[in-house]
């Protein structure tokens, strides 16, 4: 039973309130044929979407440029993103769109994809030289779905390889209406601030991945002055972005494996190189000391003639040698402090402590290959706490 009569305006206001507060209606993407379109001089666009079952009037404020740039015309299928509204004065219901986009069917999309590949094959874009990847990226930017599984996989893997590694995340829509624009915007920004970009998403249907087949997204990757890694979907998915990027990674995790080094490996490399430098310099100084001793010996048995010249030479050499040794001691002290701080802060066991050993030949040089070794050759093996001499058996 209806109650007391209320004013019509009040009634329509209540109806409006009920409709706009319904989340399902307030935030929706609707698809239909564009049956009427008015691009008003104010810049606002008024249009009607229709299918077999229904029809609704729509408005997109300031939408004229959106229609023009996407070449949307009456008769096309379009998707509008927005929510329901009621114009209280007339009681007319309308859809207030925030965005509009033409719908393509898979056949058209696939055709466009092939044409794009063909175009870039012909004009040499596919074969253009790729940008080199920095060995240690300092300003990595990751462009992918915010809160996505792909992002958390990548973050976990980066942390495993290099805890405290610094990078930037730009969360974007990776599928649906608005996704290509967001990806392009993020790439353009990262192109100015990053030294390496990973752009991608996890697996999905071909339609879900389609942003990465679009010319706008791929052109942004091609134009990007910073190297871009395309990391889309699963192993088997091959997108146009994979073909034109600087590196194609088969998955987002694979992208991390390709570009983020393992910190411990780099630390090992540094400390091993330091050890080799120390061994090499030790050997050289041992030899130079021997040369001086030989000269002293020769001098003591030399005839008196020319002895003053020889004396002069030996004293010059001695003082040069002393200076050199002093300097060397200073360098080695500094080096030890550095290496010690590397090792104690991050990697407390030295190479030899971990059970590795170094083999030296008879000249005291490190042996890094079996080439040139013969049965019966004698080798010095340097271990953590001393040296032993061994013989090559086979």
């Amino acid at each position: 039973m209806a109650g007391e009569p209320i004013e019509v305006g009040q009634y329509v206001s209540l109806a409006r309130k009920a409709l706009v507060n319904e989340p399902y209606l307030a935030n929706a993407a609707i698809i239909g044929e564009l049956t009427k379109l008015t691009l008003a001089r104010s810049g606002h666009s008024y249009f009607t979407l229709t299918d077999e079952q229904g029809s609704i009037d729509c408005v997109l404020f300031g939408g004229n440029t959106s229609f023009d740039s996407q070449k949307i015309e009456v008769g096309m299928n379009v998707v509008a993103l927005g929510g329901i509204d009621v114009y209280v004065k007339t009681g007319r219901m309308q859809f207030k769109a925030a965005r509009i986009q033409p719908v393509q069917n898979i056949g058209e999309m696939e055709k466009a994809r092939r044409e794009l590949i063909e175009k870039w094959r012909k004009d040499g874009t596919m074969d253009r030289p790729r940008l080199p990847i920095p060995q240690i990226p300092k300003k990595l930017h990751i462009i992918t779905g915010g809160g996505s599984a792909a992002l958390s996989d990548m973050q976990r893997l980066i942390n495993d390889r290099w805890a405290n590694f610094s990078y930037t995340i730009i969360p974007v829509l990776v599928q649906g209406i608005g996704a290509p624009e967001e990806i392009v915007q993020a790439i353009n920004y990262a192109g100015k601030h990053a030294d390496l970009i990973i752009v991608g998403r996890g697996g999905g249907s071909p339609e879900d991945l389609w942003s990465f087949n679009l010319e706008t997204v791929c052109q942004a990757i091609i134009d990007c002055p910073v190297p871009v890694v395309s990391a889309v979907g699963h192993e088997s998915d091959l997108l146009v972005s994979d073909l034109i990027a600087d590196i194609r990674a088969s998955t987002p995790s694979n992208a991390v494996e390709r570009v983020i080094p393992i910190k411990d490996e780099l630390l090992d490399e540094i400390s091993q190189t330091g050890d080799r430098l120390d061994f090499a310099i030790d050997n050289l100084f041992i030899k130079k000391n021997e040369a001086i001793r030989t000269m002293v010996l020769r001098l003591s048995t030399a005839p008196m003639k020319g002895i003053s010249n020889a004396k002069l030479r030996i004293s010059r050499m001695n003082s040069k040698m002393n200076n050199a040794v002093d300097r060397q001691i200073l360098y080695k002290k500094n080096r030890l402090i550095t290496i010690n701080s590397i090792l104690t802060s991050t990697n407390p066991e030295r190479v030899l402590d971990r059970g590795y050993s170094m083999a030296l030949n008879q000249n005291g040089r490190p042996i890094t290959t079996v080439a040139g070794l013969k049965e019966g050759d004698s080798l010095t093996v340097v271990l953590r706490d001393g040296k032993v001499t061994t013989e090559v058996k086979k």
Binding site: I136, L266, L277, L284
Partner: protein, 61 residues
């Protein structure tokens, strides 16, 4: 100098010292350069560390 460049130069220096044949001044110069490069490499690693930043698209450009 990047990490890769520093490592490449270090490799050259170590190879030269291992091969021998450099005179005393040259040897010390190489050793000093090598020591400095090792420090540079260490700095390079440290400079890759820091925070993880998340940007909002609305806040850029």
């Amino acid at each position: 100098m990047t990490y890769a460049e520093a490592m490449k130069r270090l490799e050259e220096i170590v190879a030269a010292l291992e091969a021998g044949g450099t005179d005393l001044d040259e040897t010390l110069k190489l050793f000093e350069e090598g020591s400095n490069l090792l420090k540079e490499c260490q700095k390079e690693l440290a400079s890759a560390e820091g925070k993880i930043e998340t940007l909002r698209l609305e806040d850029i450009e």
